[in-house]
Symmetry: C2
Subunit: 210 residues, 2 copies
Amino acid sequence: MANNIQNENPTPKKTRGRPLAFDESQVLEKALHVFWARGYEGTSMSDLVDLLGINKPSLYAKFGNKEELFDKAVELYLTKKSVFVSEALNAETASQVIEKFLIGAAKFLTDPSHPSGSMIVQGALSCGENTSAIHQKLIVKRAFLEAQFKERFDTAKTKGELNPNTDTISLAKYLTTLYQGMSVQATSGATQSELVDVVKLALENFSASH
Amino acid sequence: MANNIQNENPTPKKTRGRPLAFDESQVLEKALHVFWARGYEGTSMSDLVDLLGINKPSLYAKFGNKEELFDKAVELYLTKKSVFVSEALNAETASQVIEKFLIGAAKFLTDPSHPSGSMIVQGALSCGENTSAIHQKLIVKRAFLEAQFKERFDTAKTKGELNPNTDTISLAKYLTTLYQGMSVQATSGATQSELVDVVKLALENFSASH
DNA sequence: AATGATATATACCGACAAGTAGAGTTATTT
DNA sequence: AAATAACTCTACTTGTCGGTATATATCATT
């Protein structure tokens, strides 16, 4: 209680024991890339040890077990990597939200600076029974994206940006469905321009409806 | 060469040794369902032994190794399960092809009589290095679906069913993208009516373009 | 310099993976 | 009935998995 005030020292530099031989956030970044590219089941802890340049006990000491490490990687992914989503959600009008999201998705999913596709889609799409916990967590994340769109479109409806009898649930689901499909395409080798063409096709047909 | 004429006996019933204690096609059917639901990596041969009611050496004797078994399951899936695809491709007009495919997909992907989603999508979407052969094969299968649509739309163009400046590649890619996204949705628990709503949304916007 | 705290390194654990050996069983053929 | 072909069964091998015990190295503190 009162005795942890000492921890509020703003610069607790001196750490007492032997210092860490690796940069924690850098290691997590690398782990994210491996999980992103190979999925949860496709990645072994030994793989990570090799690729991260850190030995196993240190890995477990810093990040817990494999599932916790994956969770932390997912959190990093959502907060720092797939930022185009929140940028799209903050767009002015509903149609701008849609366009920004889909175009942003085409670019993000094929960005050569990181693995292709969405980690939330391909991280654990199907799995054995021992992996179903991660499977479920990713389903929740996907549902959350959909719910964000649904809410955004609901408020858009009240502002008159959207036809009042728009089915916002289906519209949100359509968008995330397209996104998830684009993710599969990206992991299958689709290029950025191919995905942009697909998006343009979807958007063309869309602009006729409002 | 000439000495295998005897094998052309239309009813080679008498098989010499001890008869099989299981129905081969029935076992393959069950194996398909397991792979379909759990993916390649998520399914272990021991799982299959338990669920198929057949012991391991018999399984290996009849179907080769795990990869060959998976390949045979995929073949069964494509020829006997996802038949709605070829039905859609054989539809009269291009717009009927699109509608039949998407509506058929919504029903197929959520059909309660078999695992949800597409085996070709979730069978090995991402994987470690030792599974990449299967990964690649499924990519080829997905590309083949796309190519079938592209060809169908090309002939539709010559028949005047489709606007002559239609980008048939992108149209085909759009359709398969939507399909793959719907597959992800189905494995995430989306219901048939939800997917049908998504499809209707896509079709509405589509019908404006021709 | 000695102590205590923390991190690293090697080597290991039990569980389970894919795949197989070899003995036993059940049929047809001669 | 004897021989042989084909299948089944138990038990095993080898390798890898996630995870850890133990010993050692490196720092701040005293």
